[in-house]
């Protein structure tokens, strides 16, 4: 964190006007969709809400309450929620408690690989304001600064029943079409990237081209690009980014004694 960008940066307003200034097709907002499109969306929401896959990634200590939630005693399979091993096929990313900085990098990588619409649930106090490890140098303090979070749940750690309730609430939100925090990642990518760079330094980047995706999905807003994404671009083209990516394959050979 040698060259830290500006300490505080104002986060642009959440709800940008539909058909924002950026390029690409305007985001399909509720009113202007055709009847047919709206029926399809509602049906898609309904089906998606009934078969959510949770990414099987125990990011923090709260993950010990996931096996009881998924296995027979509290059995979330009744509402169609089962663990899924890979981010590509997962809908929900559970941040179960604290995130050490190293895990936060992997969480951001996994989050960006997940297909939209995707949902993030913050378990326990550590995701809200630092929790027990508020004075630790090694953990992040507020989850919603690094990836957009749909719902938080109180507890240290939340019980399986509480996990059930948050998942049911999520299903409700999806049905009602409210669970769209993930769009905020595109609309205000600069805010998130800024926070991430503040922790991991200006050189921090991920192989996902979030800005391209924002344009593709039509969520490109005034907050998508800004002062931090400029730092990202300055860090060299995608080749440099690949080389500088977090897990160079050569790391292993360096240490193996022939």
């Amino acid at each position: 964190m040698t060259d830290k960008p500006l300490k505080s940066h104002v986060r642009p307003p959440q709800d940008t006007m539909p058909g924002g200034a950026g390029q690409g097709c305007p985001a399909p907002d509720a009113q202007t969709r055709s009847i047919w499109r709206r029926i399809m969306d509602d049906f898609a929401d309904h089906c998606r809400a009934r078969s959510l896959f949770v990414l099987h990634y125990c990011t923090g200590c709260g993950a010990i309450e996931l096996p009881p939630t998924i296995t027979s005693r509290f059995d979330m399979e009744r509402v169609g929620i089962t663990p899924m091993v890979t981010p590509r096929q997962a809908d929900i990313l559970l941040i179960t408690g604290y995130l050490s900085l190293k895990t936060l990098k992997r969480v951001i990588l996994s989050y960006e690989q997940m297909q939209g619409p995707k949902y993030v649930l913050g378990f326990g106090s550590c995701t809200i304001n630092g929790g027990m490890y508020w004075n630790s140098y090694a953990t992040m303090k507020r989850l919603d600064q690094y990836i957009p979070t749909d719902l938080f749940i109180a507890g240290c750690m939340p019980r399986p029943e509480a996990v059930q309730q948050v998942l049911l609430k999520l299903i409700e939100d999806i049905d009602a079409g409210r669970a769209n925090a993930w769009q905020d990642y595109y609309r205000n990518y600069d805010f998130y990237l800024g926070n991430q760079q503040r922790l991991f330094g200006a050189g921090w980047n991920t192989p996902t081209d979030v800005i391209g995706e924002a344009r593709h999905y039509g969520y490109y807003g005034p907050g998508t690009e800004g002062e931090h994404t400029r730092l990202l671009a300055e860090g060299g083209g995608s080749a440099a980014r690949l080389a500088h990516a977090e897990y160079p394959s050569t790391a292993l050979t360096g240490r193996i004694k022939s």
């Binding site: 005693r73 106090s125 304001n129 929790g131 029943e161 509480a162 309730q165 925090a181």
Partner: protein, 610 residues
Amino acid sequence: MSDIAPKYKGSMLRPLKALSFLFREPATLPMRPRPAAKVYRGFHLNDWEKCVGCATCQQICDNDAIRMVHIPALPSDPAKGIRPRRPAIDYGRCCWCALCVDICPTGSLSMSREYIHVSRDVDSYFILPDEEGMHGVRYPQGWAKDENADLLDLKRQEMPEEPPQERADNFSEICEGYDPQTAMLEASRCIQCGMCHDACPAHMHAPEYIRAIFEGDFEKSVAEIYRTNPFPQVCGRVCTHRCETACSIGKRGEPVAIRWLKRAAVDNVPQDRTIAIALKDKAKTKTGKRVAIAGAGPAGLTAAFDLAKLGHEVTVYEEKPRPGGMMRYGIPEYRLPYERIDADIAVIEAAGVKIRCNTKLGRDVTMAQLKGQADAVLLSTGLNKGRSTRIPGSDHPQVRAAVDLLARITLGEAFDIPASAVVIGGGNVAFDIARSLARLQRRAFGKVEVTVLALEERDKMLADEEEVIESAQEGVKLINGRGPKQVVIEGDALKGLETVKCLSIFDEQGRFHPRYDETDVMFHPAQMVIEAIGQMSDVSFLGEDLTEQLEWSRGRIRIDEAGRTSVPWLWAAGDLVKGPDVISAIATGHAAAASIHAALMGETEAREAK
């Protein structure tokens, strides 16, 4: 695949064993939250009636999750240790360890069995717990304090005292004081909530000096005490310890012995070190201003000490042969030994205060002379004349005032000790004279014949509880609910006192409104009747024209909150203007000294001094 060992080759029918599962209870629970256990640590509850806002929960919280929220509408009473603030808890930090519940001095904080809160809005995780619970659903209480889970030490360290038979006939000090080890143990009970600081009239830095004792640094403790109180020896023994009434630990247990810790601190520091500490902040330069103080009581000497440290030339005039005022001549030695008073006064004299004894204002020196010799004069002569009930026969020579007798005992002037005596009054002064007389009687006659007649009932007595208990141990009889009717005299010998039953003293609004039952008359035979019903000041030394010049309110000199009278060069402090105890006198002494200093140094606009 290697061939399977025969022992594990199950038979074809083995899978049928699984059929037994058809008839078993499924382990899956319905999709509703189960009720939590009886001691479950769920969301917080706080009983706002019991909570006094002492913020101990904030101190123990290891996640810095508790913030105190000031709420003006709540009751606030520094004297009883109640602050208008309640804890708010940040569920973005809390780990539900319930240390706050276990340390809560009043036991108001507890946890409910509610454990579900799902929300997108981060602000909803900052709650102000009350009895309703987080969502106002009144979940039953879960984890609460019980005797096992109490983190506080509710019992006070024993104060070693002389047993009754040893102290009955002598004036040696009863309380022997804490040794350093016990003092540190007692000091460790303090939770630094600061309620005592608010309740004390002089706002002593009690938490600081208690913490210093706990750390074993008695000299730092003495330094903290001398910031606000130049009489640690005296106040360590006879203070009315309002701080202990406000102490948070006192809400459910015995309060921290704040008074006795003062004494422990100053007892464990040699006198020369105490003087060095007390005079650390003495001004180097003299201001050249002179201040005359009438009355060497706690108020006068405190003001003298402050002013001397500020560099003024201070002279104190005292009518009695030794300085100390009511501390020496009003409090018996078994409560406050005289060498302790001298120790405190020695520190004050070391600050450069000159005390002229046996010089009575109005007799040996006049107000005009004081005004002439000094730039400012402070009156702190206190209330040293006893009030009489003036009931019929109360002008008989054997009807004495308690304060006069106490002064005589201190002065050592002999007086004919009555074989039996009756004391009218139920306050500390009444018990002081009763127990002193009991000692003198036991020494002279070998038995005690003293009866205290108190207007109040046993549970509403004005005197301290330990006074009443200890006096009974020393043979002093006590009769409650008696109002004096008349003194019975035959010829010129006093036979005794007639009293009537007092039904109630205060009416419903709590105002003084005694009601008597005329028919219930008792006769108490006694050779002497001592009146300890109140005291009055003698301001005759002021002289006619000054009395006229001064403003008066309700029979006492009118002063502003800093103690300055309407006459610019005259201040007043102590019982003369504001009582009732030593610590209040000290507080008014500080105020007067500050006001005098400000006036003398011209910080306020230079009103025409003379």
